[in-house]
Each structure stands twice: as C-alpha cells, then as structure tokens.
Amino acid sequence: MAEALLEINNLRIEATVYAPGEKPRNAVIVDDVSLRLEPGKVMGLIGESGAGKSTIGLAALAYGRGGIRLSGGKIMLNGREIRRASSTELRGLRGREVTYVAQSAAAAFNPAKRLMEQVIEATLKHNLMPKTEAEARAVELFRTLSLPEPESFGQRYPHQVSGGQLQRAMTAMALCPKPDLVIFDEPTTALDVTTQIDVLAAIKTAIATSGVAALYITHDLAVVAQVSDEIMVLRGGQLVEHGTVQQIIEEPREDYTRALVSVHKIDHREKLPEGEPILRAEGITARYGAMNEDVLSDVSVDLYAGQTLALVGESGSGKSTMARVITGLLPPREGTLVFDGNPLPGALKDRSREELRQLQMIYQMADVAMNPRQTIATIIGRPLEFYFNMRGRERDARVQELLDAIELGEGYADRYPAELSGGQKQRVCIARALAAKPKLIICDEVTSALDPLVADGILKLLLNLQKREGVAYLFITHDIATVRAIADSIAVMYQGRVQRYGTKTEVLTPPFDDYTDLLLSSVPEMELGWLERVLEHRRMESAGN
C-alpha cells in the first residue's frame, strides 16, 4: 500500500447553533469519520445536504466555516498533523499543498480583476515560480481544460466568460501551484447539464495529466461515478459506506446507498392525449418590460385534463417565463390562452376569482413561497376561506384532510414553516395548491432544490394526487430524469422556442434534432465509463460531419 497523502482518523466536527429565540446549543456535524487518500487518487464524497461532506472537504484544509470547530481526531497531510497546526503553518499549506474549487465560481472570483491575475495569485504568493513561468503554466492549464483562446483567455474579466468557463478557470487556479490535493466542492452543481459534461470532462483530463489527488464532493452519484476511484457515502455526518466506484454502483451494501443508486426509477406509463385540452397556448410571444428581444416566440402547446406536460430546457430557455405568462403575471404580446374551452385573459387583474382558483402554482423554493409568520393551518386554510368561504371547524377539518393527503398527518397544523424540513415545506405548498381544487397546477422546478430521495417522494406524491384528483400538471424542469419519471407529453424549449414537442415516447425516441440529442446525452447516467462513451460518440459524430 502506497504512502497516504491525506489520512483522516476519527474526525469530529462540532458547531454552536444560535437559533433565534433559543438557547445556543452544540451540534455535532461530523462524527467519527475516517478516510485515506493516496497520491493521484480521486475520492468522491457523496450525501444529501447536511451530510457534512463539504465540512469534511474543508477540514482537509484544516479550515472550518464560521463557528465550526474541528474538535477531535487527526488530520494527517503528507505525514504532518494539521488539525492543531498554527495559522502560519496553515497559511503555508493552503494554496500550495491543498487547493479548493468552490461551487459558485461566479461568487468566488473578484469581478474587478482579470482572470490571469487571480489564477496565478496563490502561486506567486507562495513564491513557487517567477511570474512569467506561472503565466505560462496557467496558459498551459487553460489549454488542458479546453478553454477558448488559451493565450488570451486570462486577459478577460470574470463577467466576460460563461459560467462553465469560469468554473474551469477556477480549476486552473487550483491546479496552478502544482498542489498535491485539490478539493472540488460541487463544481458542476450550478451548471446546466450540457455545460456540466464539458466541465466534468475538463476536470477529469486535468486530474489525469497533472497526477494530483482530489476529494470530489457532490450530491449526484452519477456525476461522482465518472471521475472518482473510490466513493464514500455520508449521511448526517456519519459514514454509511465506503468502496470502489464499481462496488458502490453495482453492489451497494447499505439500504441507504441502494436508495441513492435507484433514485428516479419511478415507473410511469404515459397517457395519450384525449378529449379537449384543459389549457391551450397558441403562438405565445412575450418579453419583459423595456427589453428589445422576445423571451418567448411563437410557443404553442396543449395540456390535457389529468395529464402532465413537461417544459424542459436549460436556464434562459424561457420555460419559467412561460409559467409567468400562463399565471397572468406577464401578459403576452401576441398569442392566446384557452383554459377549459374559454379564452383566458392575459393579465392577472382581468381574471375572475374562479379562473384564478382553477390555476394554481407550486414554486421552486418552498422556503420563500410560504409566509414565515403564518402557521401551516393559515397557509393551507386561506385558499379555503378565500375561494369556498369555509370557516371555523369546517375549515380546520378540511386542512387536516389535506395534511393527510400530503402524508403529513396530525400535529402539523399549528407549526410554522421554519419548523418543517425542506421536503415537508414543499408538501405544504402542494396542499395549499390542492386546497383550491384546481384543474391545473404549474410546478416550477419543484424538486430541484431538494435532495434526490426527498424529491422522489414529492414526485410520487404528485403522481398519486393526479390519479386521485384528476389535476393536470405543467411541469417546468431542467432535469431529464424527473421528466422521464412523470411526464405524459414533453415540450423541449431552446432560446424561447419549442424545439421538439409530442408525447413522451415521441420526444424521447430517435431520431433527435441536434439540440435534443445534446440535452439528452448530457444527462449523467449511473454507470462506469459513461462520460468517455458520450465524448467518444460526439467525437465520431463531429468527425463524420
């Protein structure tokens, strides 16, 4: 066995939690976690939010975010104990032996400085090489990471490059000082799938050429499977399972890992369009305020009663704008909406209360979609009062019925949103929408802020409710796996237009148009060698053309 580069033994990390209006209390964030990383190897850390994966990653730098204490265990880097190292010692090690790639490159770069200056900053600070040599190395890294015009790329400012390029520039920054270890903290999570695949490929190539070791932190098992040698599954600050990528994906030992691997395997048979559509949008063209460009142009889709239409696309494709048009928040410049056989006024203020009732919405961020000062009973009960004039005991009984329908049960009515978990909050938002007895619910990225297992629960709940109440969903998402799980028909959106539209089978069956092909093939699949296969496939295609 080779000498370990990083060895963490029985690490314990604690923090003091100051909840408003409560006594400060001690919370254990990471409990008794050990790991061993050899030079040149990549270890994937995976888990849901709150699993402690980022905290462990930062602990490899002997760093704890605000108020966090590395209270026990050993962190050995290159044979030295660094948990109790002095700050001078740590300064010498951070940015030299260990570097860090953050999730949001846009927030991590200084917008007022050129990229080159920032990429070589740590290298110069540690006097590792003269400036010209550092710049030459940076250009070399830009080339390895397939950034455009590597010679002049460094002269740009952060706002002049795309999100995916910025993330790669940050990887260059991390690799420039020739570190022994790089911590990647969710480097592709904030990117669109079609961008993610490029960044992923670039990171993989860069790791392979430089021979650096890495800790790769993510919540997406399919992503980590493409770049890692080993995987550690974490939950609630504790180790669940540790193994090679192959073992974790193909024969997971623990139930929790099995659940993570089989996530999104919901079986849903598509329904074919029948009868009159509940919502028909024809030739919708829309733009925001004083903008000179249409965000949506000539969008036509139909949604049938009791069915699900998925609007799929990357950020900026106009899918959320479409939701704003349908809800009446953004009246279209051209085109018509027909709801249940009757024309639907474009502006919110022209719609009747009955029309508003039939069309409800569920938001991406359940946290801000509920008034934090209202109890769950008020949040769910208000539509009952407002649309059906239900009061007192009748209202309370119906609220409880709805709570049962979303599988929350007794004891939640008097709570405030802050007292619920992320998944429970989203369930309450579903109940609020259901309370109006709508015919159509618009779901705007309702699962993208949730952990995979929780998201699965929400999707199953939505499908059950559709079966029972016959409500139609307009499902807006960028996640193809979600679409596969619940859609009956699909509209693929690209730059404000519908690129491809039809039933699920029609849309997901080849031959594809170029964009749909790119989108579908970019979704990481949970198997070894997927990344190489896709890249190889693309190379062949472009060579064939």
């Binding site: 408003p20 809800t327 928040l329 209360r353 508003l356 979609a369 008034n371 539509p383 007292e419 109006a436």
Partner: protein, 272 residues
C-alpha cells in the same frame, strides 16, 4: 413571561414605573404643579427631595408633572408617526410605479427641510396647543418611518409568498396587513424604541426653545429652560430632566431589543 432576560426585565420595570408615574401624577406628586412652596433654588431636603426651582416650586413635583406631559406627547406622536408612516410606506411599496414615485418624492421633499426648523416655522404661525404639537411631531417623524417601511416592504413584496397571494386573487389590504406587516415587524419594533426617544428629545427641544409646552405647564425641556441659569451657581436642577431622559431611553430600548428578539423568531416566539 418566563425566560425574560434580566436586562429586559429591568428595562420593563423602569419603563412601567415611568408610565405609572405619568398616569398617576396628581396622586403621587407631593405638591400642586404650579404651587410656590419654598424659596428660590433650595437644596434638597426631607421636605423638598430634589429641592425647589427658580421660583420656589417643588422640583420633584415639576419633574413628575413634566414627565407626564413629555411622555404623553411623545407616545401619541410616535403612535401617529408609525401608523401613518408604515401604512403609507407599505402602500407605496405594494402599488409601486407612479404611486410610489409621487409618495416617495413628496416624502423626500419634506425630509429635505430640517425637522426642527420646519417645526419652529409651523409652530410660530399655529396656536401652540397639545393636539397641534402632537400632530406636527407625528407628521414630521412619519417621513422617517415611511422611508424605512417602504424599503423593508419593497424587499418583502418580491418574495414568492406575496406573489402566491396575488395569484390567489388577494386584495392589496390582505397583502399589506397579512403578508407584509408581520414580516416587517422586526425592523419597525427596533425603530419604534429609537423614535420614541427621539420624540422625547424633540418635544424637550421645542419646549426649551419656548415653542413647546407653554408655562405654567411643566415638561422636561421646560424645566431645563427655567433652571438653566442655576447651573452657573452650581444648582443641579437643570440636570434632573437629563437623568430622567437617559434612564427612560435606556429602559425603553432594553425592552425594544427583547421584543425584537422575540419577533425575529420564525417559530412564533416559542422555546425562547
């Protein structure tokens, strides 16, 4: 009331004492308000606890009655400024567009004139009575509250839960009072403590300049004015109002801080 911190408890007790003193002034005060009972500027004695003032009235009596007027005027002016400022500020934020522009620019216009000078001009042409004083102070102070509430409400107004209420078809009244107000309460409560003390200072300033409470009525600013020459002779009579204002200011803000803590909790102030 369990779990109330010591500082807040102390502040609460002192504040309550001040208010009780104000309400029951005629019962507590040892002498009549404008009754001359001794010599000019007598030192404190068992007969006159704080001594007497520039024309021989009992200073403790004057302080108690003065506190009554000062606290009464300041409270009403603060209530007025908060009701008016908050409602208008929320309205401007919720309606936006032209309504907001007109209201905000008018507000800026009023704010651009120094408050004290504005008040002096208005009070020199109007009869100086209690209702006029309260009205002038309340209206002038409401410009500050307007700015704060508008700024807070603009932020809240773009939250998804407000949009959800709009999509439901709720009217502006529901949006203002049920969605925005409960969420804007924390900064407003913090401001309330501060504004109340500013109101006390303001009425005291006006009285000191002779445009506030008119003699023989007593108020803290007036007591300073009447006894200011005594300072030269080492008579501390003019300093008592200052001590009273400082004590009240600290106490009220201790209470406001505690209330702030409770309103910030998103769990309905439970468990705290």
């Amino acid at each position: 009331m369990k779990g109330i911190p010591l500082a807040a408890l102390l502040g609460l007790i002192i504040t309550i004492l001040f208010f009780l003193m104000a309400i029951f002034a005629p019962l507590i005060a040892p002498y009549g308000m404008s009754e001359t009972v001794g010599d000019v500027w007598e030192p404190s004695s068992s007969q006159f606890w704080l001594g007497t003032d520039n024309i021989g009235r009992d200073l403790l009596t004057r302080m108690i009655y003065g506190g009554r007027t000062t606290i009464f005027v300041a409270s009403l002016a603060t209530i007025l400024s908060f009701t008016l400022g908050a409602v208008l500020g929320f309205t401007a934020a919720v309606y936006g567009g032209l309504v907001d522009q007109v209201m905000s620019r008018t507000n800026d216009l009023v704010m651009s004139i120094p408050t004290l000078i504005f008040a002096l001009v208005v009070l020199s042409v109007m009869p100086v009575t209690l209702p006029v004083l309260i009205l002038v102070m309340g209206l002038l102070d409401s410009t500050r509250v307007f700015r704060l509430s508008r700024a807070v409400a603009v932020d809240i107004n773009v939250m998804d839960f407000v949009e959800a209420a709009r999509l439901r078809g709720e009217g502006q009244r529901w949006v203002i009072f049920r969605e925005i107000l409960p969420n804007a309460l924390s900064p407003l409560v913090a401001e309330l403590g501060l504004r109340f003390i500013f109101a006390i200072l303001f009425i005291s300033t006006l009285s000191f300049l002779g445009l506030g409470i008119q003699p023989p009525g007593a108020d803290w600013g007036g007591i300073v004015k009447e006894n200011r020459e005594g300072i030269v002779y080492g008579i501390s009579a003019a300093l008592y109002p200052a001590v009273a204002i400082v004590t009240l200011a600290i106490s009220v803000n201790l209470v406001a801080d505690w209330a702030l803590n409770r309103t910030t909790s998103l769990k309905g102030g439970r468990g705290g």
